[in-house]
């Protein structure tokens, strides 16, 4: 039997506010344990949580950017369960009446567009951090993260493959980063993902029994874990077995998911409206103000890049995947208005360099002005494209301007025909056999002669002139 997979994602994005969702404690990462706590986030009796207005504003940005309907009235609820990372014995979240519902985003895979529904977006507080002692039977609890604002974005079960899930996740990450509401770092946990996955015979309308996957803390893990889980479920069904509804944990070092049965019972969360928090009412003025403040989003920018700069869809998508990268590109194009060439250099040399050095575009040792400067040097024929790569490496290493490097290292291209002719003469007289062979029809040897000339001039000879001179001399 042929199966198809049905996947829905629950994404938690930590909002980049300065303070927690219900108290004034700092959200700064990396502070010594329990130094960002207060009676409110420690869950002391008698305290009153008060909602951070910025959290609502950031949530509205996300809701609008993902085409959601905003609930004019929404409210907070208590989700009750016991776990040591949760000091109050409940998490303040939203249940009925979340801030936003019924949205969508578009993803693209192999030039095929697909719309993925968003069921809801709700606000909630993060839990603390547990560290398990490897030698002793105890766990350490740090409540610094307790109360850091999160939005949970729940997708419809519209995803049909691990690739689609990956594309959707990347799209959402790109959006939260464009909106400057979350830094989208999966490894550090500011952007997290759980997946619901089931399979069903192709053509079937009903859903199969699903498993919930947790601990998917990188893009690679999400796709691998889903792939593993789909295969596991297919094997069970093909053997006549039944998939059990359960939570499963992805173990990246073992490359498999394992059951987390113990959590089953805790699913009775007994939600009820939190009496400490007033209903949240959002009016048109507020929505319109947030709407006006929205930046150009990745999809809009991608379309603009295709139309304005005549880039391919793939190039435009890659360049607009991060706001900073897109801005770097546009800044370069302003100074050197040849988008295609700028695109090639940004996607090739620059991203290659940044990946190798594990740097972000903001930490690029090569400024937009210097990259544009380098491209101008090629354009004016001062250096060849090949030499430019050497200059680029030097720029990356030293952060110096290309013009200076070219001058100092004497890399200026040789365009003087008589100087090139001289070198050509030398090469031809040093290689009489090859010259003979060429004249007897082995024209492929042209590449060999060009290579020799370039070697002799340490890459500085203008390749076009070298070719012309060689052709002229070899024909005669």
């Amino acid at each position: 039997m042929e199966f198809e997979s049905v996947i829905g994602l629950e994404i938690h994005a930590q909002l980049k506010t300065k303070t927690k969702i219900f108290c004034g404690c700092s959200t700064k990462f990396g502070a010594p344990p329990n130094t960002h706590t207060c009676p409110v986030c420690l869950g002391m009796p008698g305290v009153l949580p008060v909602l951070n207005k910025k959290v609502v504003e950031y949530s509205l940005r996300m809701a609008l950017a993902t085409n959601c309907k905003i609930n004019r009235q929404s409210r907070f609820a208590r989700k009750n369960y016991f776990y040591p990372d949760l000091p109050k014995g409940y998490q303040i979240s939203q249940y009925e009446l979340p801030i936003a519902e019924n949205g969508h985003v578009d993803i693209e895979i192999n030039s095929h567009k697909k719309r993925i529904g968003i069921t809801r977006i709700h606000m909630e507080e993060d839990a603390g951090k547990l560290t398990h002692n490897p030698d002793r039977p105890l766990s350490m609890v740090d409540f610094n993260r307790t109360g850091v604002p999160l939005i949970e974005i729940v997708s419809e079960p519209d995803l049909r493959s691990p690739e689609e899930a990956g594309a959707y996740l990347r799209q959402l990450r790109s959006i939260v980063r464009y909106l400057s509401i979350c830094d989208g770092n999966m490894e550090e946990g500011s952007f997290r993902c759980d997946a619901n996955v089931s399979i069903r015979p192709i053509g079937s309308e009903t859903f199969g029994t699903r498993a919930e996957l947790k601990n998917l803390n990188s893009f690679k893990h999400v796709e691998k874990a889903l792939q593993y889980e789909i295969t596991r479920q297919k094997e069970i069904l093909s053997d006549g077995g039944e998939v059990i509804q359960e939570t499963r944990l992805w173990s990246p070092d073992k490359n498999r998911t394992t059951s987390m049965r113990s959590k089953e019972e805790a699913h009775d969360y007994r939600y009820f409206p939190d009496p400490d928090l007033l209903p949240l009412v959002i009016d048109d003025t507020w929505i319109n103000n947030v709407k006006k403040s929205l930046p150009e989003l990745p999809d809009e920018r991608k379309i603009r890049f295709i139309n304005k700069f005549f880039l391919s869809s793939n190039d435009a998508e890659a360049l607009t995947s991060s706001r900073e990268l897109a801005e770097y590109f546009e800044e370069c194009v302003k100074q050197f208005p040849n988008p295609k060439q700028v695109c090639n250099w940004v996607m090739g040399e620059l991203l290659g360099l940044l990946n190798a050095e594990e740097k972000t575009i903001n930490e690029s040792p090569v400024s937009t002005g210097d990259l544009a400067g380098l491209l101008k040097l090629i354009d004016k024929g001062v250096i060849s494209g090949k030499i430019a790569k050497t200059v680029f490496e030097e720029m990356a290493k030293t952060g110096r301007a290309p013009e200076k490097i070219v001058k100092e290292k004497q890399l200026v291209q040789v365009t003087d025909v008589s100087a090139i002719e001289e070198v050509v003469s030398k090469i031809l007289s040093n290689n009489p056999k090859e010259v003979e062979a060429y004249k007897n029809g082995k024209t492929k040897l042209m590449g060999f002669f060009v290579g020799q000339v370039m070697k002799e001039t340490r890459g500085k000879a203008n390749p076009k002139i070298v070719n012309e001179v060689l052709k002229k001399r070899l024909i005669n």
Partner: protein
């Protein structure tokens, strides 16, 4: 009976309460009476009255996003039965 013994056991378990057989019977009876009492409300005609979760007519209480000083850590940990290196210490839990 408004509530069964099994439901009492389930709820007690969720609240981490360890009940003996006698208390379960006793509580089932008492909770049942409370639920019956609350049912009195069902006799009120609520036709046309919107549902509400709040007893006061206020909306939107906000704070601005500005950092306030946190609690001194020694104070935060003062009531902890066990602490170590600035952490609260609890019996080991892994996904349980």
């Amino acid at each position: 009976m408004k509530i069964t013994k099994d439901e009492v056991i389930h709820v007690a378990n969720l609240a981490r309460l360890d009940l003996d057989e006698d208390s379960i019977d006793l509580l089932a009876g008492q909770i049942g009476k409370i639920l019956e009492y609350v049912d009195t409300l069902n006799r009120v005609d609520t036709e046309g009255v919107p549902s509400t979760s709040y007893a006061i007519f206020l909306n939107n209480a906000f704070r601005e996003d500005s950092v306030k000083e946190s609690l001194d850590r020694d104070k935060a940990l003062a009531n902890a039965p066990e602490k170590e290196d600035g952490n609260f210490v609890v019996p080991k839990v892994i996904n349980s």
